[in-house]
Symmetry: C2
Subunit: 195 residues, 2 copies
């Protein structure tokens, strides 16, 4: 896994930048969906995708009928971003009110994964561990309709904001409750049923 390079160096709030690839992997493993940015006719698009990780590669899939996915498959430059919101930071001032977050951005070009099933399995296991063994595997026809893409974790940046609220002498006289409201995603019980 490569180190962050110049065009993706964190310039804003560089004290929040993280260069440890283990943190990148942790963020990717903790998220369920991200956004892939791609340019078409000069217009950027940020497209939501579920994803998985296999070693130093992000995996995601789309339809062979999707124009943007075909462009990704053809090697168009892209950016894959994931953001996890961990808390709301309540400071004394509007300016320092912020969020706890972990965000990762990976730049590069995708490769088409020819060996689709292990990659689709990795995406499935990422989100629903153990589920793959229980369900009907993809048919040849379903695989033919699916583009599986791999983006290497070569050029990336990570930011982690996890500190307490900041205050300044200007805040004197302002005494709202201050601290952090933690955020977490909860999975409920299965609501059984099907179409």
């Amino acid at each position: 896994m490569g180190a962050p390079v110049e065009r993706i160096r964190v310039r804003r709030l560089p004290e929040l930048a993280v260069t440890d690839p283990a943190v990148l992997r942790d963020i990717l493993d903790a998220g369920m969906a991200g956004h892939v940015a791609i340019v078409h006719n000069g217009q950027p698009f940020a497209v939501p995708v579920a994803y998985g990780r296999s070693g130093d590669t992000v995996l995601f899939h789309g339809s062979t009928g999707s124009r943007l996915f075909r462009e990704l498959a053809a090697g168009a430059p892209c950016c894959f971003s994931v953001m996890l919101l961990d808390g709301l930071v309540l400071a004394r001032s509007a300016f320092e009110t912020s969020m706890w977050y972990r965000s990762a951005m990976v730049l590069g070009r995708c490769e088409v994964v020819e060996d689709q099933v292990p990659a689709l399995r990795a995406i499935s296991e990422h989100i629903l561990p153990g589920r793959w063994e229980l369900v009907r595997p993809p048919s040849r026809k379903e695989l033919a309709a699916t583009l599986v893409l791999a983006l290497p974790l070569t050029e990336w940046s990570v930011k982690v904001s996890a500190g307490p609220p900041e205050s300044s002498p200007e805040d004197e006289g302002w005494s709202p409750p201050v601290g952090v409201v933690p955020l977490r995603t909860v999975r409920g019980a299965l609501i059984e049923g099907e179409a």
Copy 2:
């Protein structure tokens, strides 16, 4: 608020496309952060941002020191995307395993908001209703360091996936638990403290 136009028409799974602007507003109001995609030297970037909504405009802010924010302020084409994950859809087949989601994508060019305080307040109220009244308002110096941008809800698309798992005759013999695992974001109790 304009209708979705050709370059953003939902082509994949068009049965999930929603053209009611009330749904767009609901999605924007339910989310806390999104991604802004922008192109720099041919490379797309998807940058996480907190945001708010005021009428038919998405509002977000960044630092005047951010190169990408300065490019947005100069009117570079962008895409603002928000995705809400509402559930995990457990089907009998790998192919139909999916998610409940609501996603919105807004294309356009930002305008710089000169009257910063009401816009910053709208962003704050979006995420932390009532908080703005309790905190120190931004100082002149803090405002000078902040770019507030507005993106009109003119060209947009929305997709909503909320149906039960689909099955097919091929799935016969596969009987895992099927249904939907709901996902929700929970705010915990304030952990008091500051730096």
